[in-house]
């Protein structure tokens, strides 16, 4: 076995977390820089993975395999396919921005005791989450994946409950209460999901006798491992439930607005842009890979739920009074699209869904972080407290608008590509579903523009008049994101080339082929030759 690149990539942030946590209370800034440094190192490694990865090659590459818990048939098996690569890239990419954006979010209050080291804890936890997310993108052993899928809840839980948004309405006690409510809600939702999945994992163990994704998938394909239809369906539901909570899919979504609303903007980004992606990723890799038949069986229901998420999430977003909750519901709508794309079972849909995971990460990060900067200036999350910001802080307003436009997936920005692919992919197999989903396009424009209009335009509010424009650190956080959004919007090829082969593999797992066009166009073949 050659250099264990994947392990190292996951280990680096973990080590960083420990070191950061160890920094003495007084040396706060050192801790911040340390965390940033390690996150950048991780990014470098992620890039290395992307470089070492050969799109045409084996399905899983850079694989590692060690014995771990033989009694449970559990092995420490890592490996990445195209989907994993891009998502690891996304994670490693976003964390530095999250850290930079949250630079001052965890500075201790004067009142807190000397031994309490919130700053160190904050950044250590972020790195810990990164490590766990990365390894769950790498794991090709169901048990290994499950372990980190569950374990990452704990640091997330502390991030949400321990470091709330300082801009809150009402008293501190009230805010603290809401915060811990949000944290507990987050943890319980995901824990219940995880435990139900645990039952399914055990079931899988009983049926299959081991946890190796590759072996099981191969056995399923070869027909050497046949599950009773009902068993497969039950197991599928067990897995899917957990992922649907994480994703989140209507009606299991209500933890997200609380979590995102109460936590600081960077943490909110961490939740929706990084951690939740594990859910959709797992649907694609485990649900479809392990239980192809059951996936097809469940598709109609899932599609309906996804549709509800899309429309419902968008409509509820329109009705929000809290900026961050609005973004949260927008995310719910977007996750609806992702799940739609995954279960449309067409290569356009699934490639689109994968791109969507990345693009949604970037766009939400841009929008949410700018919103965070805005909120930190005014000290309020209520939309009604803003107005005319573009007059006093044009750059902030401009970046906010671009983030918003990305959210409503304007062509030329990355999300458009993925959203359109998802729509086309869905439409190709389920025209009606596809058409209903396109309503989401209009609604997205509605909530985004309403938000922009209410906060940024109109006469300048008194409290806003003295608001400073983005500072250098903040510009440095937002600018690269916007650049990426545009870059991937006009040249998504860099991603699709990596993703497409993996998607084809998944398609073959579920034994699905794209529906043929009614009319075979000769010119088309010529085009593909290009």
């Amino acid at each position: 076995m050659n250099f264990p690149l994947l392990t190292v990539t996951a280990a680096v942030p973990a080590v960083g977390a420990i070191l950061t946590a160890a920094v003495p209370a007084a040396r706060r800034t050192a801790a911040k820089w340390l965390a940033l440094l390690f996150s950048l190192a991780t990014l470098a490694l992620a890039v290395l993975i992307a470089v070492r990865f050969e799109p045409g090659g084996d399905r899983y590459q850079l694989t590692e395999s060690r014995s771990w818990i033989a009694d449970f048939g559990v092995r420490y098996e890592l490996g990445v396919d195209g989907i994993g690569v891009v998502l690891i890239g996304l994670t490693a990419l976003l964390i530095p921005f999250v850290i930079a954006a949250g630079w001052h979010d965890a500075d201790p209050l004067e009142t807190s005791s000397k031994r309490w080291r919130p700053t160190q804890g904050f950044f250590a936890l972020i790195l810990m989450v990164e490590a766990m997310v990365i390894i769950s993108f790498e794991a090709t052993d169901v048990f290994l994946f499950y372990i980190f899928f569950e374990a990452m809840l704990i640091p997330m839980y502390f991030l949400i409950g321990g470091f709330g948004d300082r801009a809150h309405s009402g008293s501190d006690e009230n805010a603290a209460a809401q915060r811990s409510y949000a944290a507990v809600k987050f943890l319980l939702y995901n824990l219940v999901g995880g435990l139900i999945m645990l039952a399914a994992v055990i079931g899988l163990y009983v049926v299959a006798g081991n946890f190796s994704l590759q072996e099981i998938t191969a056995a399923r394909a070869a027909g050497t491992l046949d599950m009773a239809t009902n068993t497969e369906r039950l197991l599928f539901l067990g897995f899917f439930f957990a992922f649907a909570v994480k994703a989140p899919l209507w009606p299991l979504h209500t933890w997200l607005p609380n979590a995102m609303g109460e936590s600081t903007a960077p943490v909110a980004v961490l939740i929706t842009a990084v951690v939740d992606k594990v859910g959709t990723f797992a649907m694609l890799r485990f649900c479809l890979g392990l239980f192809p038949e059951a996936s097809k069986w469940a598709t109609p229901v899932i599609l309906v739920l996804a549709l509800i998420s899309i429309v419902y999430g968008a409509l509820v977003a329109v009705g929000q009074r809290d900026i961050k909750r609005l973004v949260a519901y927008a995310s719910i709508s977007h996750f609806g699209f992702i799940i739609l794309g995954i279960f449309a079972m067409t290569s356009q849909g699934q490639s689109g869904a994968t791109l969507y995971m990345v693009n949604h990460g970037l766009s939400t990060a841009a929008l949410m972080l700018v919103a965070g900067f805005l909120i930190s200036r005014r000290g309020s999350r209520l939309i009604a407290d803003y107005g005319g910001v573009q007059k006093v802080a044009p750059v902030l307003a401009g970046t906010f608008l671009i983030g918003g436009l990305a959210t409503l997936s304007l062509p030329g920005l990355a999300p458009f590509v993925s959203e359109f692919l998802v729509l086309v992919g869905t439409f190709a197999r389920y025209p009606v579903v596809g058409i209903i989903a396109t309503i989401g396009i209009v609604l997205a424009a509605l909530y985004t523009l309403v938000l922009y209009q209410r906060t940024m335009t109109g006469p300048v509010k008194e409290e806003v008049r003295t608001m400073p424009d983005l500072r250098l650190r903040e510009v440095l956080v937002v600018a690269p994101l916007i650049a990426l959004l545009i870059g991937l919007g006009v040249y998504p090829k860099v991603l699709t080339d990596i993703v497409n082969p993996a998607v084809e593999q998944t398609m073959s797992d579920v034994k699905q082929t794209d529906p043929e066009p009614e009319v075979a166009v000769e010119a088309k073949n010529g085009e593909e030759a290009k």
Partner: protein
Amino acid sequence: MSTLTSAHSLWTLAADTPAGRIPAPVIEYAQLAPTLIVVGAAVVGILVEAFVPRRSRYYVQVFLAFAALASAFAAVVGLAAGGYGSTKAHIAAMGAIAVDGPALFLQGTILLASVVAVFTFAERRLDPAAHGNRVDSFAAQAASVPGSDSEKAAVKAGFSTTEVFPLALFAIAGMLIFPAANDLLTLFIALEVFSLPLYLLCAVARRQRLMSQEAAVKYFLLGAFSSAFLLFGIALLYGYAGSMSYAVIADVVDGTITKIDPALAGTMGNDVLLLMGGALILTGLLFKVGAVPFHMWTPDVYQGAPTPVTGFMAAATKVAAFGALLRLLYVVLPGLRWDWRPVMWAVAIVTMLAGAVIAVTQTDVKRLLAYSSVAHAGFILAGVIATSAEGVQSVLFYLAAYSFGTIGAFAVVTLVRDAGGEATHLSKWAGLGRRSPLTAAVFAVFLLAFAGIPLTSGFTGKFAVFSAAAQGGAGVLVVIGVLSSAIAAFFYIRVIVLMFFSEPKADGPTVAVPSPLTMTTIAVGVAVTLVLGLAPQYFLDLAGQASTFVR
């Protein structure tokens, strides 16, 4: 499910001395060494109480206890290494005591747990020194009336109840025999031997003596009550099989018994004796493991007893009792599998759910942990029901993982104190994480382990028992198990929320800085919790090798 005989072969070895034939009276002292050492040490401890001057008793007792337990553990390891756990496993002491894998594994676990528990017994730094004497968590003079002059005098004189060490040793000795007992009489005697000292230990708390005494009374009365049931069960079983020996009873139950005299033929036909007897014995054991509906003593006793004792009880008693339960069900009553499995199913389900649900609204840390231990008993029962080698293995592993976690958790509880002694009311724990992050973090680790969060021993154990149960065809049980552990997770999380996310109160408790003794206890607890979470393979192997009963 496989046929009876093949199922037998899973967990029994052909013993080299077939039961029934009366062997020449011979006691294999070497193989009983662990127990004998502990008993001997206990006796010596009593003599120490009698003859060693009060000043130095404490040190002598601590040393004695530690030495005894350590050497006993060494003996266990020696036996295991000598192959008595697997190949040379057999029945010693004229059929009274089994020396086999499960016995040795459990004895080892009990001894190690006892060592760390005894450390917390010996802790004398937590309470402020009274009249210049360091004091431990035990009453200066248990006999004196709380608040009376005699008590004040005793405190002033710097008395301390060093008898706890020999008492503990006696209890441990009983616990060592309990899971190894191979006939019903030994079972009963062992039960009493470890119960009686525990009753006393509950009564000797330094603070809140009223509650301590109340706990002792309740524990004693209910314990005696349950042992009466057990005894009557034994009587009926004896009446059914005409023998005390597990092996013989098992043969009779299976109907594979060779020589049948008319009387036996008469009773053998009467299954009511058998079933009632079995049920009553189960009652006695379920009482000890704290399964619903025999659990109601746990919260009160756990709360009232001195915290070190609580930790010791919670851990060691469970191990011993489950050991005995396993042996009873796997060696004596496998023939009745189809009768007791459904019943145990019900018990397990009720135990898991009730434990988890009731704990949700608890306001006292010790009671909370008590109910959580009830819930855990339910989880372990799920493993017991599997009736397979995996089942035994998973239960053994779970017990080891759980006991250290529990002792560690209770040790942490002893640290959080205010003027009135330990501050066990949850409201006082608010903001502990802000005041002393380390303590809170350690406690959080234990809680997460109890909640079965991955990367902790709790998760590995839970996975082990549930997967064993599932393989045993108890899928429903598994689903209910995960649901109840979801409920359980809720109250563990509540404590974490309290410690980390709520502002510390002005008059909140302080965290005492313990001596290396308690520190070791906690450290061991954390270490075991994490190691068994991250790299459990070795210990799973150990439990796996130790998962076959001799018969």
